[in-house]
């Protein structure tokens, strides 16, 4: 006699989800771009990002920076900072370290 087994899917859905959001294409040049600098608070990350920005600005003519310091290394920026980033910056750089 064959037995039948029914098992429930224990997941929150497939790993590959349809996502309407699309990454913007990488700009060919940073000339005139406003650069978001997202620091995570580790070490001297803000200073590092600032130096990176100035190096980029000298070479490419980037036109400004939006500086964001996350509330912690392991959490996203505050909503107000997200809003500043998405409304004012046209590209962004974030740092990593541990």
């Amino acid at each position: 006699m064959s037995e039948k087994w029914t098992g429930l899917d224990p997941t929150s859905g497939p790993l590959e989800r349809r996502d309407e959001r699309v990454l913007r294409p990488r700009p060919e040049s940073l000339d005139g771009h406003v650069i978001g600098l997202v620091a995570n608070g580790l070490g001297r990350g803000e200073e590092l990002l600032d130096r990176v920005y100035h190096g980029i600005a000298e070479r490419t003519g980037a036109s400004g920076a939006v500086r964001v310091l996350k509330p912690g290394v392991s959490v996203p920026p505050e909503p107000a900072d997200w809003a500043r980033l998405t409304s004012e910056a046209t590209v962004a750089i974030t740092g990593f370290g541990g």
């Binding site: 064959s2 029914t6 098992g7 224990p10 392991s74």
Partner: protein, 327 residues
């Protein structure tokens, strides 16, 4: 009762072996065999916890994930829990998914942090939670399966899958499960949940992230100060992770074994006496040398078995230890 409301996709199989192989193939297990999450079993687990299938247990906003009672029950069944463990599993999930539990970080981190599930109150004897000898290890169904249920939810629902959102460099065996209870009966101290504001008759689950765990072995000291100095040496050899967002709420868990406890008992030292001794010694030249914001951030738990003069320290990842009442 809850069966009719189950929402998950159903998969049909000709045998248990077929089901098991398919669950392995789909990546729905932790690498060990599972109990089949049949609609009947999942419904029974929901009933045992008095939950509707669609009830939301918590969320992981950064992953756009909502954890429902049905998903929790399916994974608890798979872990090998009995239905009566389900309220403890739900409390563990609520603690893990608390904002300051920082679950996205603690389960995605390169450091491979684990989650310690610590039970207090009457639930320990009701479910048979091991608190004494060998309580960190295998051999105890309630410990093993409640801890495993949390980890299966983390994997299957919260998407912390190695190479996907679990980015651990090495990971740790404690990620299969890590659950134990406080040995309240063999201790003269106030239990941890009472220190955290719950009534002695409450049953609670505390979930603490564990970036690493280290033993403080001291066979020689016969006085509390000496044992504390040994523990202090281990604490100061490591660090307690914290940041601006966690503020002063970070915790370090100290589990004191019975061979050490008897010297504290003999001298009449409480958990607060231990904190009072250690806290100033966390400071050097007027500056704190570890990331604990307050003395009570040091959570002290009585557990373990006789014979070995050791205590254990659970160093956190970037999270608070959260305690939830089992209801």
């Amino acid at each position: 009762m809850a069966r009719a409301a189950l929402q998950a996709d159903r998969h049909e199989y000709g045998s248990y072996d077929e089901l098991l192989e398919d669950y392995f193939e789909r990546g729905w297990t932790d690498g060990l065999p599972i109990v089949a999450p049949t609609p009947e079993k999942v419904a029974a687990f929901l009933d045992a916890a008095g939950l509707e299938a669609s009830e939301v247990i918590g969320e992981v906003p950064t992953r756009e994930v909502v954890v429902t009672a049905e998903q929790a029950a399916a994974n608890a069944v798979m872990a090998g829990c009995r239905a009566e463990y389900m309220p403890a599993v739900v409390a563990a999930l609520r603690a893990h998914l608390h904002e300051k539990g920082n679950c996205h970080s603690t389960t995605g981190t390169l450091s491979g942090a684990a989650q310690a599930v610590i039970l207090n109150g009457p639930v320990r004897s009701e479910l048979g939670i091991a608190c004494g000898a060998a309580c960190f290890g295998p051999g105890f169904r309630a410990n093993a399966t409640i801890g495993r249920a949390l980890r299966l939810v983390i994997r299957n629902v919260c998407r912390a899958i190695p190479g996907v959102l679990d980015r651990a460099s090495f990971s740790t065996p404690a990620r299969y499960q890590f659950c134990f209870g406080e040995d309240e009966e063999d201790s003269s101290w106030r239990p941890m949940h009472v220190e955290r504001g719950f009534a002695p008759e409450d049953s609670t689950v505390t979930v603490a992230s564990v970036m690493n765990m280290v033993s403080a072995v001291d066979f020689h000291s016969r006085a509390p100060e000496g044992i504390c100095d040994s523990i202090l040496g281990v604490i100061l050899s490591r660090f307690v992770a914290t940041d601006r967002w966690l503020g002063d709420g970070t915790n370090l868990v100290l589990i004191v074994g019975p061979e050490h406890r008897r010297f504290f008992d003999r001298a009449g030292w409480s958990k607060d006496d231990i904190r009072s001794y250690l806290w100033p010694r966390f400071h050097k030249d007027g500056k704190k040398s570890i990331g604990l914001g307050r003395p009570e951030g040091l959570l002290i738990v009585a557990a373990g078995g006789d014979g070995m003069g050791e205590s254990w320290l659970l160093f956190p990842h970037l999270a608070w230890a959260i305690t939830e009442k089992i209801v």
